[in-house]
């Protein structure tokens, strides 16, 4: 095992999206009362629009039609194991940090049929299940999730082993990102270099200012939409305000991961006593992996019809915290919580360097907020880096 780990396999080097703005075009200014025009053009060409909505006490992505549905003045208060919303009188629509979902469910479906098999007199017939995702535009995506999308692409679109389901969804997705202006207490994208601004991977990026929005294109398709709106260029003062907002969003972050590559440090600490201390708190519930925008593990499940004449092969999100994940010949290799947490953290922060050329964490903080017992990977890493007493 250690042999394999120590072999650097930079097969799928990923361009690391930096926090800097990629500005292929001059930003333009969109007044608040024109936002609906942007949404309408996003919904052009038969696209459905997904955007942030308040549902069940959180901001989630769902179908929207109108700018009026966006979470105006909504603020989030996040801490380890806790997420609350609060209505403020701010007119801002994007003054919140990430909710529980990332982009992930839109590209890597939580459950989907990969193929079907039908049995008749002539034998078994296997058919790929060609899901046809609806063309979709999504607004409100953050830098950490764009960076995670690059990682997911590195995984799902490895040359020669492209995942058709992932590819089909991605091809149909138009992404409108938003520079983060109000990071949560759990965010640390500034330390991983993946935010708070929207890096590569978007079609359009939007900066929200008190007076309105700045738009910049990240793809020809995005540029086309922006051009069709015929908006004035952003003023110098507006560009300055955007830069200040970005600086403020970086400075506001209190958590961080060390800027250095943790690969060797973590692999050298496989026997650190702190793993057992985390295991006393960890529930092996897998919430961290489900909300993590870069986690990609899946399981396969046959779902035969009762008469046995046909069956569907379903892929569903799995987790390194589940029994099946390390189940070999009826016995899980990682049969306790300590080993499962260790697997998660070392794969994410160490093994990914070998596989994908960078750490798997983009600093979104979701695994901290959505852990039912508030386990905080930034703190666990700090403890692991300390020499055992």
């Amino acid at each position: 095992m250690d042999q394999a780990w120590s072999r650097p396999v930079h097969l799928y080097g990923v361009e690391r999206p930096r926090g800097s703005k990629t500005v292929p075009s001059t930003p333009v200014f969109l007044p608040p009362d024109s936002l609906q025009r942007l949404l309408d053009s996003l919904r052009g060409s038969g696209r459905q629009l997904m955007g942030p909505l308040v549902r069940d006490g959180a901001i989630v992505f769902d179908r929207i039609e109108n700018a009026a549905e966006l979470p105006r003045g909504m603020r989030d208060i996040q801490s380890p194991g806790s997420y609350r919303l609060e209505q403020s009188d701010s007119p801002r629509l994007f003054a919140w940090a990430n909710g529980p979902q990332a982009l992930k469910p839109m590209t890597f479906a939580p459950e989907e049929v990969l193929w079907q098999v039908v049995r008749d007199d002539s034998g078994l017939h296997f058919e790929p299940q060609a899901s046809t995702p609806a063309p979709t535009a999504v607004i409100g995506v953050r830098g950490c999730d764009l960076a995670a999308l690059q990682l997911q692409k590195a995984h799902f679109l490895q040359e020669g082993a492209e995942d058709p389901a992932f590819q089909r969804r991605l091809d149909k997705l138009l992404i409108v990102a938003v520079d983060c202006s109000h990071p949560a207490d759990t965010c640390f994208c500034a330390s991983t270099g993946d935010g708070p601004d929207a890096g590569p991977g978007h079609d359009i990026a939007l900066t929200e200012l008190d007076e309105g929005f700045l738009l910049r294109a990240g793809s020809p398709q995005g540029q086309e939409i922006i051009d069709s709106l015929a908006l004035p260029p952003a003023s110098t003062a507006q560009l300055q305000a955007a830069a200040e907002s970005s600086r403020g969003a970086s400075d506001a972050q209190t958590r961080k991961l060390p800027a250095t590559d943790l690969r060797d440090a973590l692999f050298a600490r496989q026997d650190h006593p702190h793993w057992a201390a985390v295991a006393e708190r960890c529930l092996a519930c897998g919430n961290c992996t489900a909300v993590c925008p870069s986690c990609f593990c899946s399981a396969y499940e046959p779902r035969p019809s009762l008469d046995g004449a046909e069956s569907e092969q379903v892929r569903l999100w799995d987790s390194c915290f589940s029994f099946e994940h390390s189940n070999l010949h009826g016995h899980p290799v990682r049969d306790d919580i300590r080993l499962r947490y260790r697997q998660w953290l070392t794969h994410k922060l160490a093994g990914w360097h070998d596989q994908y050329g960078r750490s798997g964490c983009t600093g979104c903080g979701r695994c901290i907020s959505w852990c039912p017992v508030g386990i905080d990977l930034t703190e666990e890493v700090a403890s692991l880096l300390e020499e055992p007493a």
Binding site: P110, E280, L306, W317
Partner: protein, 258 residues
């Protein structure tokens, strides 16, 4: 080709798990083409003692007669499935195991000596070998049909081992514990129900029994942080599956005030 024989037996239970079969609608009509149902308590008993390939057993063991009957069923069945909470862990009835059942009977009944009742309500597996346990209060049709189909294929039925949280997240539900300090049992409970309660904004009651990994101490302490007294935490574990060893121990631990 002769069809394998199936029997559905009932002990102390509400019949809800048998309804998972009866509620199948059109699919139910396919069943007689695949198996020969020789006994089905809820649909009208036929022949309790006929040897069968598969016996589905609902309900917990509560009387001397139950003790004798479950042995007979085991002898007559190649493959025995405990169907639902009562059969699998003793169910709600097992709560009486922590009380003085004799004292209760004496307090309630004019002539308690006419009752044929053991002092405990226990799981089928406490008495005979169970080949497959289907947790759930009640079980659902998907679980039951999945198991039957696998048995018809001649393979070992796949068992759900993931915790409910994973199913909850796949469903897109927002976590009730994190957003509202709900005392949700999802992290220590087996998946399988479809996360019905969290999807309605409610805390999971642990109908599907203990997950593969149960860190009761950590979750219980979290509930205490939400303001639950140790006794309240104990009751979260001692509810539908108080007879399941992991929950039994967890409840006792918190009741013990540790």
């Amino acid at each position: 080709m002769s069809r394998p024989k199936l029997a559905v037996h009932k002990f102390s239970s509400c019949d809800g798990c048998q309804l998972a079969l009866l509620n199948l609608g059109e699919t139910l009509l396919q069943l007689p083409g695949l198996v020969d149902i020789v006994h089905f308590a809820e649909a009208g008993p036929m022949d309790e003692d006929e040897p069968v390939a598969v016996a589905l057993v609902e309900g917990s063991i509560n009387t001397e007669h139950d003790l004798e009957r479950i042995q007979r069923i085991r002898r007559n069945s190649d493959y025995l499935v405990s169907l639902g909470a009562c059969a699998t862990s003793g169910g709600l009835q097992a709560l009486r195991n922590m009380a003085d059942a004799n004292a209760w009977e004496a307090a309630i009944y004019a002539r308690p000596e006419v009752l044929d009742s053991l002092p405990t309500a226990t799981a089928v597996s406490d008495h005979v070998k169970v080949d497959l346990a289907l947790w759930g209060c009640p079980v659902n049709s998907r679980q039951l049909l999945g198991a039957l189909r696998d048995l018809l294929f001649g393979v070992a039925p796949r068992e759900e081992r993931r915790p409910l949280c994973m199913e909850c997240k796949r469903s897109g539900a927002v976590c009730t514990l994190v957003t509202g300090e709900a005392t949700c049992m999802g992290p220590v409970t087996l998946a399988g129900c479809g996360a019905i309660c969290p999807r309605k904004g409610r805390a999971c009651y642990a109908c599907y029994g203990p997950a593969e990994q149960v860190n009761a101490e950590s979750l219980g302490r979290r509930f205490e942080g939400f303001g639950l007294l140790p006794e309240d935490v104990a009751r979260r574990f001692h509810f539908i599956h108080s007879g399941a060893p992991a929950f039994q121990a967890a409840g006792k631990h918190f009741r013990g005030g540790k």
